[in-house]
């Protein structure tokens, strides 16, 4: 049944044009059995939210490669809550902060911003997929 598939909205946030990683994620998530709505690059917070509303998404997976992720992601959780998407899982991954910072601190900051999980640079898609399946209660 089509509807049983969990729906993910993915894209690269802000003014970031790094398209390749996002494309790899699209294929990896699709192969893993998710229904993936790929918004591409340079996606605003509002576009993530609008797409999630229409498609009744289970999770929003935000990528950011250019170091401005922390600024771009701020307020996304609050806007999701405002739009009635309080149940939606929020993930973020990539080079999400400037420079080299201990990732556990970065993770803590993004947790405080309402992101359920964050992933450091170089995370293989399998790791995200396992986490999504766990959080969305998808059985293999």
């Amino acid at each position: 049944m089509e509807k049983q598939k969990k729906t993910l909205v993915i894209g690269v946030i802000g003014a970031d044009v790094h398209a390749v990683g996002n494309q790899i994620l699209y294929h990896a998530f699709t192969d893993a059995g998710f229904n993936v709505v790929n918004l591409g690059v340079m996606v605003s917070q509002e576009e993530f939210i609008n797409a999630a509303i229409e498609t009744n998404a289970d999770a929003i997976v935000v990528s950011s490669l250019y170091g401005q992720g922390e600024l771009d992601c701020r307020g996304l959780r609050e806007k999701c809550d405002e739009a009635g998407l309080d149940h939606v899982l929020l993930y973020v991954g990539g080079n999400i902060v400037i420079g080299k910072q201990p990732f556990d601190e970065v993770e803590k900051r993004f947790k405080a911003m309402g992101f359920d999980r964050s992933f450091p640079p170089g995370t293989p898609p399998e790791v995200d997929i396992a986490a999504l399946k766990e959080d969305l209660h998808v059985e293999d």
Binding site: E2, K3, K5, T7, G14, A15, D16, V17, N35, V37, L39, G40, V41, M42, N50, A51, I53, E54, T55, N56, A57, Y66, G67, Q68
Partner: protein, 462 residues
Amino acid sequence: MKPVLLIDFGSTYTKVTAVDTDAPRLLGTANSYTTVQTDINNGLADALRRLEQQTGKLDFCARYACSSAAGGLRMLASGLVPELTAEAAKTASLGAGAKVLKTYAFKLNEDDADEIKATNPDIFLLVGGTDGGNTECIIHNAKVLQEIGGDYPIILAGNRNAARTCEKILEGREVHITENVMPSFGVLNTEPVQSEIREVFLNRIIRAKGLSKAAELINGILMPTPSAVMKAIRLLAEGTETQKGVGDLVAVDVGGATTDVYSVAEGLPDDPRTALRGLPEPYVKRTVEGDIGMRYSIKGIVDAAGLKATAEVAGLSEERLAEIVERFAAHTDLLPDDDETQRADEALASMAVRVAMTRHAGRLSEIFGLGGLQLVQTGKNLLNVERFIVTGGSLIHTEHTGRIASYGFYDEADPTSLKPKRCEVLVDRSYIIAAMGLLSEYDPDAALTILKEELMKDDGTK
């Protein structure tokens, strides 16, 4: 000679056009008041009498009509997210030639319900959610519609997973289920809903509006007038199997209450590196500005363009222009009667064209990121469109049509608005576009020949 009669039952005038399809040419045009309140055939007979005074007695081998009488095809639509399914619903309805009175987004509330009840549309288009996506909103809205009651048909073109549930909720109502207008995210699927609207128009609306009396005398009322216009300009742009078209074009119709803009163009960015944002754009696009018109909506022009800017174009003081605007708004049948009112009228028409074109055309914005400059386009790129068609009473009855039209061109003061750069103006002086759209259904080659002949001979400079 093989004469064909084309009729446009307008809200005010019934316009008749006679053509010879044997050796394609325009035989004559005439009009009279639309008499939908009594018997629509009276106005038609009157217009025909005037036509035959010019052409002599004609033995028509076919008669086709389009209609925007009795308020046109009045539609309401509701979707989920304003920029997504609600916008898709609006785009699809406008493309089907409807007059979209309002588009609702998200869940309908009590005030919306009261408004819908009071509006009593000809058709309600209920959409929302991609296939497999959100069902909550459309189901809620179906319940609201059922509670309001009414006997207008409802077209369901939302999430397919909610279609049957909505149909059950709306038991006892005339419900038409068709494909989702946005089956998956960002994909526009307007054709199925548009053909459903057309069916409902043909089978139901014509009768409901007292137009069927006329339908007995002619070979049928085939479509709403704006659909006929869209067919004609598409034909002119694309051509037929045997005749070349003129290529991408834009058409503007400045009316008394609204301003319609049509474009036939893919509208893709000039530079392939430009990122595209927003919904995909229809190749033949129609937008209607409900607040921009030469009489009933004259104040909307000044609100949108600014009194100062409009007064500068008119060469009048702001006070004087404001007075004239007040007078035209209060007396909608007034025509300019001296130099000042003429200048005001033309300046207002120029601004109407500028505002409506700016809203219709896309925009190119520049974003500076770490990788340098990135261009982002929303909407249609009309920079390279080379032909600009002008139709509608307020523009075809002045000598300065060309100058007024040029306000719809690319403007260096607003460089991110993607309006046409170098454009030839074509004027629909005999007001035949809708008629040729009708004719194109039966004899596209004759329709195209006549369109070219009539539009190409006038560039609005006189």
